[in-house]
């Protein structure tokens, strides 16, 4: 298994290990299916790994397609969109750090466009945006990923004070306050697994 695949496997495992927590958060403010979605994303990731060709661009596209097939909920589709958009910008000519930076930037922009959400609206973007900033501020891959993990976690924490406007949680408004956003938590877990 390539290093890339091994890292993805770590992400899949982390998603499974935390599915209970995701379910709890999504139950409180949404419809409680984010634990299931996390499990299905893990399945999609594994199925993408098994089809891996070694070509980063093709593999990211494949991962996105497989995740979208196995996890069709809002979050699953946004997650898959990130891979598909990243696929469009990575290249073998770039350094790993460059690919990570460009890939996550494209993922962030694609997800924001697809979900039509803005920063501060209590979504996964509120964990992804600070992580992206941290990635860009760093000069080597290792430190970039570890500071991104810290930033994503802080971002997820901060969602507890935000009013939801998107997804099913958007319908409950004020009542969500005090609780962290479920999707932002998934992002934090993903970055913690990547480092």
């Amino acid at each position: 298994m390539s290093e890339f695949s091994a890292t993805l496997e770590k992400v899949a495992k982390a998603l499974e290990n935390n599915s209970k927590r995701f379910e709890e958060l999504d139950s409180a403010a949404g419809d409680g299916d984010l634990g299931i979605t996390a499990g299905k994303i893990a399945e999609g990731i594994r199925s993408g790994i098994s089809l891996s060709t070694g070509d980063l661009k093709a593999d990211l596209m494949m991962l996105g397609r497989e995740i979208s097939k196995s996890a069709p909920s809002t979050f699953g589709t946004l997650f898959a969109t990130g891979f598909i958009r990243a696929s469009g910008v990575v290249s073998n000519e770039y350094s790993p750090l460059e690919n990570v930076q460009k890939g996550f930037k494209a993922a962030f922009e694609g997800i924001a466009a697809r979900g039509k959400a803005s920063i501060g609206e209590r979504t996964l973007l509120d964990a992804l945006a600070p992580a992206l900033t941290a990635l860009n501020d760093a000069s080597d891959l290792r430190s970039s990923l570890s500071s991104a993990a810290i930033a994503a976690r802080a971002g997820a924490k901060a969602t507890a004070e935000m009013m939801p406007r998107h997804g099913r949680a958007g319908w409950i408004g004020e009542r969500a306050k005090g609780l962290e956003d479920a999707g932002a938590n998934v992002i934090a877990v993903v970055f913690e697994a990547l480092q």
Binding site: D31, D33, R65, S68, K69, S70, P72, S73, T74, T77, L78, A80, T81, I84, R114, G115, H166, G167, R168, G170, W171, I172
Partner: protein
């Protein structure tokens, strides 16, 4: 859970099997995936393809409107869950005859994400896709924020208009234009009287107490705008119609079509009691009801409750609404 079921998680696959066995000459599965269905005769040469999609548990939504004079294909999700982008893409490719494809579906996050992704992938394969969202539920967001509204039973009118226009040979741009006009004139408001139980969950996923009701509750149990003691049919109807009238700025001389929809367990008898009051209010206001549909059009399993949809029509819209249609679930002559 008073349901006639086998294995709960096979609910959707067994239902789809039964549907395909019941209507083998009218429906077909794309590439053996029963969650990607089209008219048996798709693609129709030269015709704009119209597809929809959404979660299961709402029959006749969504697949029930696939057929002559209505839709060409549908992606079917699990109960209350979006189908995948891949399924919508497969349907899109199957119904496209080269004239382009129009997606019409309800405004729910999961569906929007998936079908936008499907449209993006279809475009990459050279298929022109346009999208119109059903967002008719007045209760789900205030005026000025119409784009946040959920889609419920009023989508029937969008299907009907788009389906008839496409059957009449209109181009994709023309079908889009008339359907947008239909969407702008359609409003729905509903009331829930009981919760529903998802087959895989086995107990109600939200609460509506006996003797109470929730005005504006969504068809998946999304919170409404007012919980109250169960009122009379006339009171409820008046509240629903008032909200629609003001949101649509209906006025004397307007012509409308009305759709009285049961959410599942509420029997048609009660819908007619409500319609009596609708007719009374509209007559008093000088609003002409050109056509009325009464029955189950967009349900939520065995949920008790009803919704009223109203579309303001001109002669072109009414012509399309009155056009014949024939699917396994809906026939109009």
């Amino acid at each position: 859970m008073q349901k006639i079921l086998n294995i709960p998680k096979e609910f959707v696959s067994e239902m789809l099997e039964g549907i395909l066995q019941a209507y083998p000459t009218q429906l077909k599965a794309v590439d053996g995936d029963n969650q990607a269905l089209t008219r048996a005769d798709a693609p129709i040469a030269g015709k704009v393809g119209i597809t929809t999609g959404g979660g299961s548990g709402h029959l006749p939504l969504f697949l029930g409107y696939v057929g002559k004079g209505l839709l060409d294909g549908v992606a079917v999700g699990d109960v209350f869950q979006s189908p995948t982008a891949d399924q919508m893409l497969a349907v899109t490719k199957q119904v496209n005859s080269g004239a382009g494809v129009l997606y019409i579906y309800g405004n729910y996050g999961g569906d929007v994400m998936n079908f936008d992704l499907a449209a993006e992938l279809a475009a990459a394969e050279g298929i022109r896709v346009e999208t119109i969202l059903g967002a008719d539920d007045v209760a789900s967001a205030p005026k000025g924020e119409e784009s946040r509204r959920r889609g419920i039973a009023g989508i029937f009118f969008l299907y009907k208009v788009a389906g008839a226009a496409a059957a009449a040979g209109k181009s994709l741009d023309e079908v889009v234009a008339i359907t947008k006009r239909a969407a702008a004139q359609t409003r729905t408001m509903g009331v829930a009287l009981s919760p529903v139980t998802l087959p895989t969950v086995g107990h109600p996923t939200f609460e509506v107490k006996a003797g109470e009701m929730e005005i504006g509750m969504g068809i998946h149990g999304e919170p409404g705008i007012r919980k109250a003691k169960l009122e009379t049919a006339d009171q409820i109807t008046t509240e629903l119609i008032s909200a629609i009238k003001s949101d649509l700025s209906l006025k004397s001389g307007d012509k409308v079509c009305v759709l009285m929809n049961s959410l599942g367990a509420t029997p048609p008898e009660e819908l007619y009691i409500m319609y009596r009051q609708v007719k009374k209010i509209f007559s008093g206001d000088g609003i002409d009801v050109a056509r009325v549909y009464v029955g189950e059009f967009a349900t939520s399993l065995e949920m008790a409750g009803a919704s009223i949809s109203v579309i303001r029509v001109d002669s072109e819209l009414l012509g399309y609404i009155n056009a014949p249609a024939h699917t396994p679930f809906f026939t109009q002559v």
